[in-house]
């Protein structure tokens, strides 16, 4: 990475580590969603194991999307965004790097927490590994797509819920392939790699479309 990109990346990481909270709150929300399910569904362990991957994926989806609202808002409120627009650096790359840093500080903890939480859901080790692998590949795509919502709602005070609503339809394919490759790993006959590769492809597409659309929205919101 060139110097400026590294500087931006380090700054964003530092900020999220120092301000703290965001990663912990994200993981806690994930935990809350995961624990609320057994309460709702009832303590039927087989049923939980059956819908476990789905719960983990949906929890991760919601935690990621709802945690994204400050991705650009903080920078906009203190005027940093204006200066970034004038810095003479490609905004698409700036968005990509910010997403990367954000994912490292809030998405990765979710992935790390997933195997732990899957114990509550009675998943066996294979399922646990499969869900974690799909989350590892899929959550970056969620962050990148979510960035579009974050930049659309950058000037709004009530970002969170609206962001999630705008972005959920866009994340449907990721969710489908994420869960179905996890399921495929659990139920032997179906091949695991096909949906997994499609998931990887979706993440790559998101890495292109997300930053471009998000940068466009940020430019329009600048004024």
């Amino acid at each position: 990475m060139t110097g400026w990109a590294m500087a931006l990346f380090r700054r964003d990481l530092r900020l999220s580590v120092r301000i703290g909270g965001s990663a912990i709150v994200g993981v806690l929300f994930f935990l809350a969603v995961v624990t609320v399910f057994p309460f709702g569904v009832g303590p039927d362990l087989n049923l939980l194991a059956r819908i476990g991957p789905a719960i983990l994926w949906i929890g991760a989806l919601l935690a990621t999307l709802l945690g994204l609202d400050r991705l650009f808002q903080a920078d906009r409120e203190d005027g940093t965004l204006d200066l970034m627009l004038m810095a003479g650096r490609p905004l698409e790359l700036v968005v990509l790097i910010k997403c990367l840093a954000h994912w490292l500080s809030t998405g990765l903890p979710l992935v790390v927490a997933a195997p732990l939480f899957s114990v509550f859901l009675n998943l066996d080790p294979v399922a646990m590994a499969a869900v974690t692998a799909t989350l590892l590949v899929g959550t970056p795509a969620l962050t990148l797509i979510g960035a579009i919502g974050a930049s659309l709602t950058v000037s709004l005070r009530r970002g969170g819920l609206l962001l999630a609503v705008l972005v959920v339809p866009l994340t449907v394919p990721i969710l489908i392939f994420g869960v179905s490759s996890a399921d495929a790993a659990i139920h032997d006959p179906v091949p695991f790699m096909t949906p997994f590769l499609i998931l990887c492809a979706l993440t790559l597409i998101a890495a292109v479309v997300g930053p471009i659309a998000s940068a466009a929205a940020l430019r329009f919101a600048a004024d």
Binding site: I148, L152, T153, S155, L156, R158, L162, V165, L166, V168, P169, L170, V172, P173, I176, F177, S180, V190, I198, L202, V209, A213, A216, A217, F220, A221, D223
Partner: protein, 255 residues
């Protein structure tokens, strides 16, 4: 050239004034013919009986909800590329209409599904992607409502509309894949055999009627939107222009 001439808001309003009565008349007439054909000339289906009559509103509204998104996507390109003020007026006023048509497609589909398949809802690929389309329409409407500067809202919504346009084929494809994995071909539907012309004609007439209805409503909604922006601009002026009057107000509280 004609298009760009009428793309001026004031001329647009005049054009709407002239065009609307004709369109409304045409729309009502087509509906009358279409409904007559649907109920009296079209035969009942040998398999489905009279429920086939639901097709005459289900299929046109399903077509229209997709066409409406196309209109919005084109308008969004107009907003982002040519920055034309009428483009985001068009996109904004199409969204509620699109949502309504999507709702109609969903409702008629479910009501058709119950007698045919025994269930109102099936997570079938087509139905699911229409449901996602409905969420997208509603999300766009919410985005428009929450941002008070119409210009900014228009641009944001345009970005989202275009990303959604990219995404819809992906959803369609992924949902197809998803559903066939779990439930291979449990859904029997009639799209295979070509439709008999006694059923095709009413369908086409109804489709025409729905299209006309869309344009009538779209033009009327666009006119409202132009007026709304006019009100906004004038109100801003109203608040600021009379500011000098303040100084002359009496300084004593009327006690």
């Amino acid at each position: 050239m004609a298009f760009w001439d009428y793309a001026n808001p004031t001329r647009f309003l005049k054009l709407v004034q002239v065009l609307l009565p004709w369109l409304v008349g045409l729309c009502v007439a087509t509906f009358a013919i279409g409904l007559y054909m649907a109920f009296f000339t079209a035969p009942e289906d040998y398999q489905q009986g009279d429920t086939i009559r639901i097709m005459y509103i289900h299929v046109p509204s399903a077509w229209l909800c997709m066409m409406c998104y196309t209109v919005m996507s084109i308008s969004s390109i107009g907003t982002l590329v040519w920055k034309h003020p009428l483009a985001d007026v068009s996109a904004k006023s199409a969204a509620p209409i699109g949502a309504a048509f999507t709702f109609m497609a969903l409702v008629t589909g479910s009501l058709w599904g119950k007698p045919m398949w025994g269930t109102y809802w099936e997570w079938d690929a087509r139905m699911t992607s229409v449901l996602v389309l409905l969420i997208m329409y509603l999300g766009l409407m919410a985005l428009w409502r929450t941002m008070d500067d119409p210009i900014k809202a228009g641009k944001a919504a345009a970005v989202l509309t275009l990303v959604g346009a990219l995404n819809l084929p992906i959803i369609k494809f992924s949902v197809d894949w998803w559903n066939t994995l779990h439930q291979p071909a449990s859904v029997v539907r009639l799209d295979g055999p070509t439709i008999h012309s006694s059923q095709l004609w009413p369908l086409l007439v109804m489709a025409l009627a729905f299209t006309l209805l869309f344009f009538v409503l779209h033009l009327m909604a666009m006119r409202n939107e132009v007026l709304r922006r006019r009100v906004r601009a004038l109100r801003m002026r109203a608040a600021s222009v009379s500011r000098p009057a303040t100084a002359s107000a009496s300084a004593q509280p009327a006690e």
